[in-house]
């Protein structure tokens, strides 16, 4: 008896509709577009700053347009979601063994959230928000 195995191809463009968990994965990946776009915005801001006070004022004004505010809100939500998925992953990527046991995963992810909060606070203080 000869073999004639049947290969069923994985649909290259629509596979992520097959499972909710694939959709969750894709949504995580898509948030990186917003994170990247916001980085570009920061670089543009730096360029404007270097161009002098008038250019900088114009940049600040542009940031206050409704479209810009909508983008910033979207980018903020995307960045928080993106960061959270990575903080949650740290417990898998960096397990900590003490003797025969492991430090609970929540503690490892929690420590990352705590460090994030502290660093954000420092940045906000340096920026003169308080």
């Amino acid at each position: 008896m000869s073999r004639k195995p049947l290969v069923r191809e994985c649909p290259p463009t629509t596979w992520y509709f097959r499972q909710p968990r694939y959709m969750r994965y894709m949504s995580r990946e898509i948030t990186s577009i917003f994170v990247g776009a916001y980085c570009v915005l920061l670089v543009v801001g730096l360029q404007r700053l270097a161009d002098g006070p008038t250019a900088w004022e114009g940049f600040l004004l542009a940031l206050q347009s409704p479209a810009s505010i909508v983008f910033q809100i979207l980018a903020f939500v995307a960045a928080v979601y993106h960061a959270a998925t990575w903080f949650n992953a740290t417990q898998k990527a960096m397990p900590l063994q003490i003797g025969e046991g492991f430090v609970p995963g929540n503690l490892i992810s929690g420590a990352h959230y705590a460090a994030w909060a502290v660093l954000s606070l420092i940045v906000l203080i340096l920026a003169g928000v308080f």
Binding site: K4, L6, R8, P12, R21, K92
Partner: protein
């Protein structure tokens, strides 16, 4: 015992006569506490003896009864009928060629298992007269979870990267590499890196995480792969950014050369 009539929709493929697979519907009288495998056994015994599928232990240890049940990779001996409503759709494991009906060809997985050298390569060989290689409970815990794999291949059926790029070594085989790398008696990491730290190895993984969600043995292959990405990156830093740094792979070839001379 309560009875329940279950509708099974099973993917059939006969390599001798078919060019395509097709679904066949069976109506099976089952006991309420049965699993999908019991229902298949009932079909084979009473309705259609031509149905093909693999199983052996019926207790989630042999890893041979993996199937897609309503689109989800499952051990059919561990998929309880009470957890399903309506028609239950049973298909062979995704991403593997179908040999016949629910039987898939695992050749590719077997080949990949071999490539990661899933056995202890002793740090230093010693004669039996010197006694056993000892290990503390803490050293055992470092890899124990990753040694629980039953080779059921559910993680491959769940992994879209494997479906899209079949050359990917994949979750279970890479996890086994990690299992041996983490073993205090083993000295084979440098050799395994030649397969692990490549585009077909851990760098094909984009951390979808589906493997860990479907694994019936709670191996958590995704965690093993992320850990190997970190150690492989550290290797790269040592090799490229440290003065006089040697890569793990260099070390492997030096040792190979040493063996020959």
């Amino acid at each position: 015992m309560k009875e329940r009539t279950v509708q099974l929709e099973v993917l059939r493929y006969n390599p001798d006569t078919d060019t395509e697979a097709h679904f066949q519907r069976y109506e099976v009288v089952c006991q309420e506490e049965w699993v999908v495998l019991d229902a298949l056994n009932k079909v084979k015994a009473d309705i259609d003896p031509t149905l093909n599928y693999r199983w052996s232990c019926h207790m989630a240890v042999c890893g041979s009864c993996g199937m897609m049940i309503n689109g989800e990779p499952k051990l059919s001996c561990h998929a309880f009928l009470r957890d399903y409503e309506g028609v239950i759709r049973v298909e062979p494991l995704a991403h593997f060629p179908i040999e016949r009906d629910l039987v898939t060809a695992p050749d590719d997985f077997m080949e990949k298992l071999k490539r990661v050298k899933p056995y202890i390569i002793p740090k230093e060989k010693k004669p039996i007269s010197e006694g056993e290689y000892k290990q503390t409970p803490a050293q055992l815990m470092k890899f124990r979870q990753y040694s629980m794999c039953i080779n059921c291949m559910l993680c491959y059926a769940a992994c879209p990267q494997y479906g899209l790029t079949p050359s990917f070594i994949g979750p279970a085989a890479l996890t086994l590499a990690h299992r041996y790398n983490q073993d205090s008696r083993d000295g084979g990491r440098a050799e395994r890196q030649e397969v692990v730290a490549t585009h077909e190895g851990v760098w094909e993984c984009t951390f979808v995480g589906a493997c860990s969600e479907v694994c019936p043995a709670h191996v958590d292959p995704a965690s093993a792969l992320q850990q190997m990405k970190i150690t492989s990156s550290l290797d790269w830093i040592v090799e490229h950014l440290m003065p006089g740094g040697k890569s793990a792979r260099d070390t492997a070839s030096r040792e190979d050369a040493g063996d020959i001379s």
